[in-house]
Amino acid sequence: MNVLRVSGWKIAAFVLPCLIIYSLLVFVPILVSFYSGLLDWNGIGDAKFIGLKNFEKMLTNDSIFWPAVGRTLLLAGVSMGVQLPIALCVAILISRYVRKPNFLVSSYFLPVILSVVVIGQLWKTIYNPASMGGMLNQILESLGLQSWTHSWLTEPKIAIYSVIVVALWQYLGYHILIQFTGIQNIPSDIYEAAKIDGASGLKADRYITLPLIVPIFKISVVLSFIGSLQSFDLIMVMTGGGPAHATEVVASLMYNMSFLSMKYGYGSAIASFLVILCLVATIIINGLFSKLDKRYS
């Protein structure tokens, strides 16, 4: 129970500065964005109110929009379906086989803290044609696999996968760290008790680690899903959404529409869609996991 009885103006002095700045810079812009989504506006000249036309066009009559949504979900799906299971396995292995895990975990984590610009440029260099010093193609050529070489970021069919690989690479260490910490926090007496009952190794993982890691795993899922919905800086650094919109995701589409095509109203409609998508996704994921939690407890 909080004990300090404080007069109203003192509470205001403590809370309001933060709350006001926060609302002005987060909630007000979101509302403005929803409103501008209703305008036909290039961001500079006169705005015309056109109701829901932007949203209508976005959802029914835009050949770039749905593929961009698809790519965003693809990134989220690969991230949750490939990256997280790998991270979980690695985390379990580390906790079982390594006595001084800090070095290993810290090394895996290093790419996470680097700027996306550095990461993106680094991988652009790796993906470069062999004649420009690109490592990947040089490796393939020296292995005699000339036919496998590609210009990884400019072939429309491949480019998005090249970018996704980088995103997975960068954040793998983050999820390993999160899940490893979760496993570390499972009390070890549970495992000792299970060993007496004859459950060790894989069995212990299945019946102890997995159920008890659910809350932490949820955090990884939310982070990777929301992160994928917002993933945008990596795309902007590596491809800018090109070639010919082949790597466009929702956020980059919003950016390009607003700043390159000068369709500010339309961009705002996409931004509103993104905000709603994030909120809905968070709620759904939380709902799913609270069911899962109940099943295991």
Binding site: V6, L19, R96, P101, L104, W169, Q184, A204
Partner: protein, 293 residues
Amino acid sequence: MSYTAPVLRKPTVRNDRRGRFSVTTSIVYVIFAILIVTQLYPLLWLLIYSLKTNEEILSGSFFALPASLQWQNYSDALGGGQYFRYLGNSLFVTSVTMVCVIVLASLTGFAIARFRWKYANAVLMVFLVGMMIPMQGTLLPLMIIFKHLGILNTHLSLILPYMAFQTPIAVFIISGFMRSIPHEIEESAIVDGSGVFRIYWNIALPISVPPIMTVCILTFINIWNEYILAATFVTAERLKTLPFGVYSFVSQYSVNYGGIGAFLVLGALPVILIYFLLAEKITKGMVAGAVKG
């Protein structure tokens, strides 16, 4: 709700075959080694790349070490002094943001955790909802708002949104910790005749150094690396922060491969140095941030 930052505890090794060599163990270590290579080799490769001549880079011998270390690349990258300007700008923006976040969030966190008032949880909820809102959603409207306020293309236009987007997690972490401070401390302070501001400043704040450190780390990593807002709101060369600066450098010097490599290394260097010094604190802080978010 107590502050339960997950800790990398002393490892409890659950290895049944301790000390004995087995096939499984060696397979597992091979997996670890492969991961180390995939996670770190690209960075090492960049370092080697940055010390090669253009000819060596283009020759296709990617494993080869440079014949002689081309420090020239680094003086190319540092020439013109942009690097240090970008670095200074990043330092300025990040530290101002950090100080503002800590002041605002600790005030609010203190009020939420210690005052007896009806709306404490409601205020906390407001921040929680805000955490789900993607920063990109505010990009366009902020651009227009800042243009009208005439602060586009100033550091203020970066610090304000950075601050706003770092406060929710900060409020959450700090108020969570402050709830766990025993009430006897402030009761005795009241008996001694201290006002709330004194209690905040002399008692709550000094005790709350650990969560404030966590907030510092999260803010540092997020803001130091932020690129999209920095590239949208600021265009003047002298105001660019490091990530945007690296980006512009790379686009300008597109044929000086070694120089680009050197600039990328320099761009990564500050964070890597800090990571070497504070690896454990940073990993703990990032996990705490993730768990709270």
